[in-house]
């Protein structure tokens, strides 16, 4: 792996213990930074609105992304469609800090993900299980997040993905060396990555929780399940009091084991986003790009 890949993994390490917030305007980006976001995700519509609007959802207007880059000093991320390397080239040209190759947008390619090793800017990708996570890493992703169902306010899938990835890691840790070849075959991933997981007992890159996180308690749940930080999308700017809720989630991620503090943080946050249960939705975005 080259030096640039290490530097890109390093940036994700700096984001640990932090909250990455979806924003659609420079004003929201300032509110997010003021509330303690460690990075912002610039997009035209938050996932809840993408879901209700329907239709094809694409990379955001570079002009809008640039206005957000100008508004804040923290890292700015933006999404491209799965497999859409031209959108990624455009985001690299405007010096985005992180690209999210995201199932939240309409996939541009139903077979191939972007060859991320060909880029200098870093990529984060979603994963439901360890196989997906290691495939994305072998393609060059320098950060992983769960694929919890975005725009629903329902945390169940993020929980499922985080638990599964960590269970699979624990299993591999306890697997005999001569059985790791078969594990690599079953997971459809390079043997070297399986060997690395066996040795270290963790993913070789930072792993965040994403999808359906709407409350300080949701954030604390994900951190206790082993997330190294959280993405909050629709949960903040779809709620009654975005600034207050954002601040509460930031503090919950730092002190995720302190129930006393979490109780205080959960008080009086106003209305949470309405939310849709996973059984009520027609389109499961997590199934995109595996």
């Amino acid at each position: 792996m080259n030096n640039r890949y290490e530097l890109n993994k390093n940036l994700a390490q700096m984001l640990k213990g932090g909250v990455i917030m979806d924003v659609t305007t420079a004003e929201q980006a300032r509110i997010a930074q003021e509330a303690g976001a460690c990075a912002v995700m610039a997009l035209e519509r938050i996932p809840a609105d993408i879901r209700s609007a329907g239709g094809v959802s694409r990379m955001s207007d570079p002009k809008m992304i640039k206005s957000i880059q100008a508004a804040v000093s923290i890292p700015v991320m933006a999404k491209v469609r799965i497999g859409h390397f031209a959108e990624a080239q455009i985001l690299e040209a405007i010096e985005i800090d992180y690209i999210d190759e995201s199932e939240v947008l309409s996939p541009a390619d139903d077979t191939y993900h972007i060859d991320k090793t060909g880029f200098s800017v870093p990529f984060v990708c979603g994963a439901k299980d360890l196989g997906e996570a290691l495939r994305r890493i072998s393609e060059g992703a320098s950060m992983i997040r769960t694929k919890g169902e975005p725009g629903t306010g329902d945390v169940v899938q993020a929980v499922r993905h985080m638990r599964l990835i960590n269970q699979q890691i624990r299993t591999i840790q306890n697997t005999r060396a001569d059985e790791l070849y078969q594990v690599a075959k079953d997971l459809q991933v390079p043997y070297e990555l399986v060997q690395l997981v066996n040795e270290t007992g963790k993913l070789p890159v930072v792993n965040f929780a994403a999808g359906g996180i709407a409350t300080p308690a949701d954030a604390a749940l994900m951190m206790q399940l082993g997330a190294e930080g959280v993405f909050v999308g629709s949960g903040i700017f779809k709620s009654g009091n975005p600034a207050k809720r954002a601040q509460a989630i930031v503090k919950a991620v730092t002190n995720y084991n302190d129930a006393q503090l979490l109780a205080e943080l959960s008080e009086d946050l106003g209305e949470a986003m309405v939310g849709i249960n996973e059984q009520e939705i027609d389109l499961l975005m997590a199934q995109r790009g595996i």
């Binding site: 390093n10 932090g18 010096e95 930031v250 302190d258």
Partner: protein, 200 residues
């Protein structure tokens, strides 16, 4: 005597510092709330890398700012890397924010630009040979105060990237991201010297 170092753990790459310090036989405590400071007397403090806006805000909201500032001003040895350097800077270029502000220097945030400007290099540290230096959306020190005792420990491309004033050591790069322990050892020597003079 076992050395105990508090590592500020509100956000960022604090676990990497703990891993490095443990290799040097140091006992580490994660500082997330005021009660953590009361749990054990500290011989030193590490302010890690992360986002300085986030760490600065959480320090204040979790009521850690005043007690930590008091400790630093009382001479507790402190190592600030990247965001930690920003927290200690007396002035930040083109920014009115001041956090602890205990070091007489002007720092510039994101001085090398966005992530595409992040880089790794090797340079002399404290005239003791070259060490690897990783810069991630890093700041540098534009200038140090005149007439005060600020030692410049490292320069890269004519910019100051490491300095010491009294018991405060700062680097704009991330020693916790490489296997090289030179900077942590340098800080530990300072901590041990301080501990000795206190006993005497």
């Amino acid at each position: 005597m076992a050395i105990t170092i508090g590592v500020l753990a509100v956000q960022g790459a604090f676990s990497e510092h703990i891993t490095a310090l443990k290799q040097l036989g140091v006992h580490c405590i994660e500082i997330r709330k005021p009660a953590d400071l009361a749990s054990h007397p500290l011989d030193g403090l590490v302010l890690p890398g992360g986002e300085s806006t986030v760490i600065g805000k959480l320090l204040r909201e979790l009521a850690l700012f005043e007690p930590l500032k008091d400790l630093i001003e009382a001479g507790l040895p402190v190592l600030g890397t990247c965001a930690g350097l920003i927290l200690l800077a007396g002035q930040i270029a083109e920014d009115n924010t001041i956090h602890f502000g205990t070091m007489n220097m002007v720092a510039r945030r994101n001085a090398y630009g966005r992530q595409l400007g992040s880089f790794q290099t090797e340079a002399e540290f404290d005239a003791g040979g070259k060490i690897p230096m990783v810069f991630i959306r890093a700041p540098y020190i534009e200038r140090v105060g005149v007439g005060v005792d600020v030692n410049i420990l490292a320069r890269v491309d004519n910019h100051i990237v490491a300095a010491r004033q009294g018991n405060m050591v700062v680097t704009s790069f991330h020693p916790e991201l490489t296997a090289d322990l030179t900077v942590h050892q340098y800080f530990l020597n300072l901590v041990q010297q301080k501990a000795k003079t206190c006993i005497a």
